[in-house]
Symmetry: C2
Amino acid sequence: MARTAGSHSDITGPRLQQAALQLFARHGYAAVSMRQIAAEVGVQAGALYNYIPDKQTLLFELMRGHMDALLAARAQHGGQGGALARLEEFTRFHISFHLARPDAVFVSYMELRNLSPENFAALEDLRRRYEDELEGILRAGVAEGAFAVADTKIATLAVIAMLTGVTTWYRPKGRLTVAQVETIYWDMVRKAVAR
Amino acid sequence: MARTAGSHSDITGPRLQQAALQLFARHGYAAVSMRQIAAEVGVQAGALYNYIPDKQTLLFELMRGHMDALLAARAQHGGQGGALARLEEFTRFHISFHLARPDAVFVSYMELRNLSPENFAALEDLRRRYEDELEGILRAGVAEGAFAVADTKIATLAVIAMLTGVTTWYRPKGRLTVAQVETIYWDMVRKAVAR
DNA sequence: GTCTATAAGTAGATAGAC
DNA sequence: GTCTATCTACTTATAGAC
């Protein structure tokens, strides 16, 4: 099929997502202009509107895409076995998933304020569904007598905050592999909820 | 002393700091205009420049003020006793200090990207000094044989991330007092680093 | 699908009157 | 110390040519 000169629908689309994610992560949504994104993609600013209706929707789709991927990946892993085994699996999954996509993680946690109320509510719903995965494991562990947790909801938020914090310091070129980081954090999580 | 009509140096200054902190926390530094801040203070935008040289310096002074207060308060508490007692004291201090000033905490953790390189370096230096307080406690505990921590630097960052995360969900009108929250988190911290 | 040009509005910061 | 007015530059988004 002949193609109009300068037409690159299948290339510009993904490049737009990638450039926006990187720029938003580095400088923040409000600090990045559509012209900056266009320059990174290699087109003029007006051309971006063939792919997105507006800047707000671009942000939301990036964040929703991240949360969808997180929940989809979790659905594949979500384990069998006792609460202890499931908690270890969750811990290692959370760390490896988050360390593999630092820009998306950064944007999804830092730009919630810049979502419209409707988009914010949609994102919060997805986030809560992920948190419920962990809380289910902690509840099961308490019921089994394997864990001692005063408040499963708070413990859920505390563990997720601790694990997600790994993205603030981990660098692929550093002294530790992802697997080593997983093990160090798993050791702390295991003990924190232990009887 | 007579005062020029419309002159309120001692009032506008603090109000500017407070309004900027609240607006930056709520909407983000880049999304807030000097005109919005001025409207909140109750003056015109131009008047703000009697108190600050530019917007960037306003942000930096807010963040530096927060870190200075944190380090000063920590210097008053910094405890005697064994590592376990010092760790409990640190944990309770960190939670109560952070829950008492959610806007400053939010701005100080979210707006690092919007600092100029020099200002960023200065802030990072203050942050590292605070982290070193906790790492010193963990090192002492390991030396005493009271704690079992694979990597004191990572454990430091993990504990701080967990504790600071409390600011994302705690609400003063909620079901828990600050003291109760402190106790719940202390229970998890204590076990996470235990032998 | 991308370009150029532009509309309509807002940004940070300054000048000079009072 | 605050005001009004303004400068210069940049913002998101759209229109119409190619």
